[in-house]
């Protein structure tokens, strides 16, 4: 079983960290993983994205031409990546910032208003962690528990307070994704 996913957004949205947390957690669960950031040009500005592959087998290519899951954090990323999602795949979008309509019906779209959710949580910077929670829930590739454990190994969990906060962010993301999926199904 191999899962490929892409995380995309603005430079400042913690996109790379989302991928790292995901890959790290999977590794700790005994999976093979690769994490491939698109590295910034020698020239300033622009967007960021990364590709994570999680697999029970040896991973051939760390590149994903048709990822199973895509997380888009802003509009330009939607434009660029929405069409790449493999049929049957899942597209998670940050509905706080992304407003365009998605025209595909062969994939599942999960909108999560992560900025608002993070704001409610009291820490705007946790938006990306909220999204990872949503991803875990929507796709099932990782358990929220495993993520919570792995958090401590990253910058997101160095201080106990921050760790606690981010653990809650994961829960919130997961909860929200559950709701969104329920809505999707019922729609």
């Amino acid at each position: 079983m191999t899962n490929k996913m892409i995380f995309a957004g603005f430079g400042g949205q913690g996109v790379l960290l989302m991928g790292y947390l995901t890959a790290l957690t999977a590794m700790r669960q005994g999976k093979n993983v690769t994490y491939l950031p698109s590295y910034g040009a020698e020239v300033r500005g622009g967007t960021a994205n990364c590709t994570v592959v999680i697999s029970d087998d040896e991973i051939a290519s760390p590149v994903a031409s048709s990822p199973d899951y895509v997380v888009v954090m802003n509009n330009p990323s939607l434009v660029r990546f929405a069409n790449m999602v493999a049929p049957g795949g899942i597209l998670l979008i940050n509905s706080s910032l992304v407003h365009s309509e998605i025209k595909r019906d062969d994939i599942t779209v999960v909108p999560v208003p992560i900025n608002e959710l993070a704001h409610e949580l009291g820490e705007d910077r946790s938006a990306n962690v909220v999204m990872v929670g949503a991803l875990a829930e929507a796709t099932g590739v990782l358990s929220i528990e495993a993520l919570k454990e792995a958090l401590a190994e990253t910058g997101l969990g160095k201080k106990p307070k921050v760790l606690e906060l981010n653990r809650r962010a994961l829960d919130i993301g997961a909860e929200n994704a559950r709701q969104a999926l329920a809505k999707e199904k019922s729609a």
Binding site: E42, V43, R44, G45
Partner: protein, 250 residues
């Protein structure tokens, strides 16, 4: 109401790709204003560096030719030797002109090449993400000097412009800063003079411009400008370093 400030003609209408508050943007404008004022747009050729200004041709509306990292003044020498009546300027960062390009810079100055060099000293390797530059100040942070530049370990800042003063062919060397409105005005004057030196065929002219890099300094732009004005000038004091133009003092 009359428009009394607008963009110079020698700049293309493209939005700069530089970070918010980047000194490069201001310096670009000043160079373009000078080109406008001297009426030399049609015979000016720019040589941008490898550095944050590598895309300068997206902005300057003059002919431009790319130089390998550090070699702008050698490339410019080739250009100027062929195009004697043209105006050739290089636009180089501190890493470009004062580290990898040290030899080419010093020898172009020494030969007295009739070239105008704009040397943007931002104390860092902006383009590659903030490694130590030859001009990084003692104690200043960078991604290759853990704990900040330690003079004993990493060497001290290098004052290339002062070294160039020893080069016989250099005619006019001035250090300016774009960290204050007053500094910006002075910078423009110096840049204009450096172009005039070339138009008059006197020899090598260089303006070193202290220029904030908020991104790699990890400061907000206003703080970066203040730091440039207060701290950088301690190690790199602004002022004329060499002037044998014989122009009347103004």
């Amino acid at each position: 109401m009359k428009k009394i400030f607008e963009a110079p003609k020698s700049l293309k209408p493209n939005l700069f790709h530089y970070c918010p508050g980047c000194g490069h943007s201001i310096i670009h404008r000043l160079v373009a204003e000078v080109i406008d004022e001297l009426g030399i747009q049609e015979r000016t050729i720019g040589v941008p560096p490898a550095g944050c200004a590598v895309l300068a041709y997206n902005y300057f509306d003059v002919d431009t030719g790319e130089a390998p990292h550090g070699r702008a003044l050698a490339v410019a020498t080739g250009l100027k030797r062929v195009l004697k009546d043209h105006v050739i300027f290089t636009y180089q960062g501190d890493g470009d002109i004062a580290a990898i390009g040290t030899a080419e810079s010093i020898h172009a100055a020494n030969r007295g090449e009739k070239i105008t060099a704009i040397f943007v000293n931002n104390g860092t390797y902006g383009m590659t993400g903030g490694q130590m530059a030859p001009t990084t100040l003692p104690g200043m942070g960078s991604t290759t000097t853990p704990g900040g530049r330690d003079v004993a370990r990493d060497g001290a800042p290098l004052d290339l412009t002062k070294m160039m003063a020893e080069a016989k062919g250099s005619v006019y060397l001035e250090r300016v800063s774009v960290a204050t409105p007053k500094g910006i005005r002075k910078a423009k004057k110096a840049i204009k003079k450096a172009f005039q030196v070339q138009l008059d065929g006197l020899g090598f002219a260089l303006v070193e411009v202290l220029s904030p890099c908020p991104t790699n300094w990890k400061m907000d732009p206003v703080a970066a400008y203040e730091w440039t004005d207060k701290e950088m000038t301690k190690i790199f004091p602004v002022g004329v370093i060499k002037d044998i133009t014989g122009y009347d003092k103004d």
